[in-house]
């Protein structure tokens, strides 16, 4: 499998943005992710490019998050509490998604917005494909239940 950078650019950007809630920084991290990916050619032939891309992006986001915590807050910096309201536009479904844990939200984002295959997701989270499928199914069941509850 070879990764099409044009296709993946937006997806990695979404992932980074979801993690750190800062557009400029998310784009910087996206580009840094691809640069590191391109420089490490030995991973390209392993057939796990997508896995590798998300791993780099995740690590970079984690580093950026830790750095951000140590920086002083500037006046125009948002507190980040309501970023879900900004990202999630559908109120009812948004509320249902917000009830999920951070990891579950991330899985939903990766699986249904970025359309990451189950196999790659299972490797990213270190679980088996079957377990990942079950996790997604459980999340969706809960999501559906909450969604219908809030609509009703």
């Amino acid at each position: 499998m070879s990764v099409d950078i044009k296709d993946q650019y937006d997806k990695i950007f979404r992932y980074c943005y979801y993690k750190i809630h800062d557009r400029d920084k998310a784009e910087d991290l996206t580009q840094e992710t691809f640069l590191r990916f391109l420089e490490s050619s030995h991973y390209h032939d392993m057939g796990k490019e997508l896995h590798y891309l998300y791993t780099i992006a995740g690590n970079l986001c984690a580093d950026a998050y830790h750095r951000k915590k140590t920086e002083e807050l500037s006046e125009d910096m948002s507190d980040g509490k309501d970023y879900e309201d900004f990202i999630l536009t559908n109120v009812a479904l948004g509320n249902a998604i917000k009830k999920l844990t951070a990891e579950e939200q991330e899985i939903i984002l990766l699986r249904y917005v970025n359309e990451v295959p189950i196999g790659v997701l299972s490797e990213l989270y270190g679980v088996s494909r079957f377990k990942m499928s079950r996790m997604i199914k459980q999340i969706l069941t809960r999501l559906k239940k909450d969604f219908k509850g809030s609509e009703g």
């Binding site: 950078i5 943005y17 557009r23 580009q31 691809f34 391109l38 420089e39």
Partner: protein, 655 residues
Amino acid sequence: MNKRMKKAVQESFRFPETKHKNEFLMQAEVISAQEMQRKKRYPVVFRLSAAAAACGMAVGLWAHLDNRSKLSENDFRDEPAIVTTTVGNGENQPVTTAIGNGETASATTVNVSAVTTVRTAAAKTTTVTSGQALTALGARSRSTTASRSDHSSVTTNTGSNSAAEYTITNEEKTYYMKHLGAFTSAFVMGGNAIPMASAAEYKLPYTRMYSGESDVFADIEANFEIVDINDDGFFNMRDCYDLFCYSNYYEVSDTVAKKCRKYGVSKIDDEENDTPSWLSYTEFIRYFLIKEGAKPEFFSNESQPYRETVNGTYAPFASDMFVSAVFSESDHLMAGYPLISAAYRNNRIDLDVNADGLFDINDYIDYFVCTTNLSKSKQDSGEFIPWERPETTVQRCNELRSEAEAITHDNWLENYFVWCLLEYTPFRTEYAEASYYNSIIPEPYSKYYSPERYFEEYCETTGIEEYLFTFNTQKFNSCFDEYCKDVAAGRRSAPDINLDGVIDRKDYEASDIYFGDILNGRNASQSDLPSRVWNNITSNCDFNNNGTSGDVYDIMITQMYVLIKTGESNSNSGGSYNYDSNMGALWDMNTSRSGDVNGDGEVDMADAVLIMQYLANPDKYQLTDSAMYNADVEGDCDGLNLNDASTIQRRLLDL
């Protein structure tokens, strides 16, 4: 998850737009191409050697495995691994295995009326020990079968005062596994090495030969016995050097002197001589520079042995003089590019003149601007307003220029820069268009710079322009007419491009496939054509004599010739090939689909070419609705296909 839910989840997330995506993707494309190029740098010989060694190893192992019937006494392929020997009084003693270390294990009853004797690497071992039970047989069952350890030891409690220890070596049990594993590894290694070698092909993009020089080179190749001046059995640069030394009164061996005298090699002061034009060191040097490309050893005076002049007068060393001659011819041929390319790969020169960490088109623009500024500053430049570049960039450009000149002894760095850019980064058609640079160089200055000209030059001389940009109908008319006359007079061969000995529809189809491959960037290995046909088209089909075999003119000449040849029975034109005179036939047709695809008001070969380009790569060669309508000249509005192009060609030929 139903589709509505999935869509709702997707739409629930909203993300801002990226700001710098396009700029980054452009740079990523460059990085990616450079990374691919870096992979190509492994020497071909190394790759082929690796492949051959790996395949040899694989074949050897395979043959070895087949022929060797028995390795040693430890090989028990034909025997059971465990041999039982009856001991004691021969009575069967039921035994229940014990449980070791508190682990649970299924109780297994084994019959230990026999002691198991196991072959080890050293000798047969039979062990019967007395003592208490240690490990249950069932508790570690894997240790007796699949363990990677050298020996497996199992002790069973006999239930009485003895315990039998079974020691089993796994070394012999993995005989087949190890050999097959080695064979597989070698096979995979060989398989991986072969495609790397095929990607390492390099071709000098440009040469400047004299007219008729190819005939001189043909003479050189036809007279191998003579051009091997030193009679060492090889025709190489040393023969050039020997011939150079003889011609310039330097010492040479008796063999060389004798041979030169025999064939009347002239010396530099000879006023009259009958030496054939191909028997000169200049032609030899040019031959090697063109055929083999500029190699570093050609330019090293250490490669040439010391020689003195025979008349005893003071003169520079022969090797220095010879290297100067090689540099001179290299300069004329613009053959120094391989040296520059190698220097870039080996980090001897840095083409990233703007020091942004990336070698790309911006470096070329900066270098071009700096060079132009420098040359304009040395002359009366009139109203020239220089676009000033940062001081560090100017300095790096100057350093690069002097380093390159020291390597190639010529002044073609602008050309080499473009070739390097095209070799190590993706080619973009806009590089050859002035408008592209107008958006980069600010308005007041852009009119003073034309960086596109080196790209235009490259495209023109390598035939890229003919593939990608324009098809000139007048040019085609002229060369097709000339080609047909030459074929009729027997001066040139007919376009049998698929090498089957006949001119028929298959040649037409082969040319179509090749055309589609070229437009889609496919190479010989990716094409549906056999490699010998592909190679024939790329090397022996320069029908329009423009120096490029297999360009769009050659393809069109082939197709039109095939149509004439195969359509003669339907035509009363007497084999006329001047289709210009038959243009009126098309206009007399009562059809609203004119065939004027490019909208220039005429139906000509350019329209057929455009249809073929569209069919080969519709993303790149897009047609308007009216062009599509006009192009669909064949069939009953069944959409565009190759028959439409063929129909236009037939109409132009009045077939």
